[in-house]
Amino acid sequence: MLNPDLKLNPKLFDQDVEVKSTRAGYGEGLLALGEKNPNVVALSADLTESTYAHLFAEKFPDRFFQCGVAEQNMAAIAAGLGISGKIPFMSSYATFSPGKNWETIRTTIIYNNSNVKIAGHHAGIMTGPDGATHQATEDIAIVRSWPNIKIIVPCDSTEGKKATVSASEIDGPVYLRFTRDKTPIMTTPQTPFEIGKIQTFWISDAPVATIFATGYMLHYALLAAKELKQQEIKVSVANVSTIKPLDKKAIITFAKNTKAFVTVEDHQVMGGLGGAIAEFLAKNIPTPMEFIGLQNTFAESGKPTELIEKYGMGKESIKEAVKRVICRKTI
């Protein structure tokens, strides 16, 4: 059942559940920050409206910097602002930032320890019809290999707003990952949010496996868990909104309790959420795992829901993965 302590959206399993994009949450969070903190500034590389930075830009034009189609320049300008007492939020599509400007961010923001928040939008195959050029499916992997960064992937629009606001309270670089399409609202404004904490959204008595999901994919994981319950397969579903630093304590507890994991992410299965958990488990508490995500391939144009099915990332695939991983458990 849904964890009652988290005050989740009671309608989240309904057909008519409210949908909204996580990027809209970014825009609302940034706007709220603009009002709250005069040191917050925003930058965009000719993608202001589609990254929802326009809400901030319209209200605070003096604190908004339009960089044109120049992601490297945007990153290094943000770096200069960040080491001069400002809290810059820079947004673009994740394929371009942190994709195209990876080294610029590495040198001028991460190694330089500048207080910049990097918002990567249009992440994952959820970007849909634009095609694989615009679907960032490696961004977590390339960002996760940096020291000195935190990575947050909000599960819905509401959490997206909270994550954006929380990122401003961290002194140092943060990567925020957002998606384009409207996805189900699972949390409420009352749902607690803390960077670095894994939350169990779906709880069961004596669960036999844990599904770790990040981003909007959490909704598919919850749908899978609900149907598995009807088949007498009891699982836990955890929302990993912070991929770096990992909530190691929580993972150890899940490993001891369920002894089988499935990770679910709209990202390559290499180097993302699954990779992060696997690295940690291999050293500390080896546990059978199955990985839901893009399986070492690029996707293509199509409706997000069609792509999720074609690339084996939907509810049915998650259920199958749970069954597979349970069979692999050592007694």
Binding site: V41, Q72, A78, G80, L81, T107, T108, N112
Partner: protein, 287 residues
């Protein structure tokens, strides 16, 4: 405002530049790797900055109203380190630790390792953008500090450089002054063979920058150029400083092979001999 440059002060600066060149040679021979030509070529400009132009305090490197000096082409950091040491940021003795384990003097500058190093640099083309960020912060905070950004001609091959050039002109960042070390060499050879940059002045003019061309090894004309750049209120300025790579050491001057390597012991001795002779000449010339 910069103080007037009297003859006596000029002589003092020329002697300091000579001393910095000697420190560079001593530092590089000890480090056994690093760049020689660029640092020697830029010694006069660094001297002018740290001992005459910059509004700064070596004992309080994070003073928030200080002028910012950004070194975009981080590989010439031996000249920055030598000048900072001479200016009192850290003991001269520490120069011997350059590029060694546990040193604050990283092979390419790292901001959080050494107070007074404004940015991390080395990967090229990123300095002007960071300088722009600091300039924007100054404007938002209504501060009057200047942001000076030193760049190389080789790094103008980088697209990022031109992204920044367009942004600075669009935003009329008059408190940003770029100084390009126009020495016509880069690692693989002469700049005009690797990737032609001329006509550089005209390029910058067409990008809506104020441009000034000077002899970058002439301290007086450099100080004059900075003063004239400060009079411009609606554009960023670039000072195109023609420098002689390897300046002061005859066998290094204008030879691109010295771009990316240090002298060995014998070469260092020879270089130091030449520089000491030059020192004597400066001392007697102005008397």
């Amino acid at each position: 405002m910069i103080d007037k440059l009297h003859d006596e002060k000029l002589k003092e600066l020329e002697l300091k530049a000579n001393k910095i060149r000697q420190l560079i040679i001593e530092t590089l021979v000890e480090a056994k790797s690093g760049h020689s030509a660029g640092p020697l070529g830029m010694a006069d400009i660094f001297t002018a900055f740290y001992f005459h132009i910059l509004n700064h305090d070596p004992k309080n490197p994070n003073w928030e109203d200080r002028d910012r000096l950004i070194l975009s082409n981080g590989h010439i950091c031996p000249v920055r380190y030598a000048t900072m040491a001479l200016a009192g940021y850290f003991p001269i003795e520490e120069l011997k630790t350059l590029r060694k384990l546990n040193s604050r003097l990283q092979g390419h500058p790292h901001r959080t390792s050494l107070p007074g190093v404004e940015t991390t640099s080395g990967p090229l083309g990123e300095g002007i953008s960071q300088a722009i960020g600091m300039t924007l912060a100054a404007k938002l905070d209504k501060k009057n500090y200047y942001v000076y950004c030193l760049t190389s001609d080789g790094e103008h091959d980088e697209g990022n450089t031109w992204e920044a050039v367009m942004f600075a002109a669009k935003n009329k960042l008059n408190n940003l002054i770029q100084i390009i070390d126009r020495n016509y060499i880069q690692i693989d050879g002469r700049t005009e063979n690797i990737m032609p940059l001329d006509p550089l002045k005209e390029k910058y003019e067409s990008f809506n920058w104020n441009t000034i061309g000077i002899d970058g090894n002439d301290i007086k004309s450099f100080v004059n150029a900075i003063e004239s750049a400060k009079l411009v209120i609606d554009k960023p300025t670039i000072i195109i400083a023609n420098t002689i790579p390897g300046k002061g050491v005859s066998f290094m001057e204008n030879d691109y092979h010295w771009h990316g390597k240090p002298p060995n012991k014998e070469e260092a001795e020879k270089a130091l001999d030449e520089l000491r002779t030059l020192q004597g000449k400066i001392e007697s010339e102005h008397e």
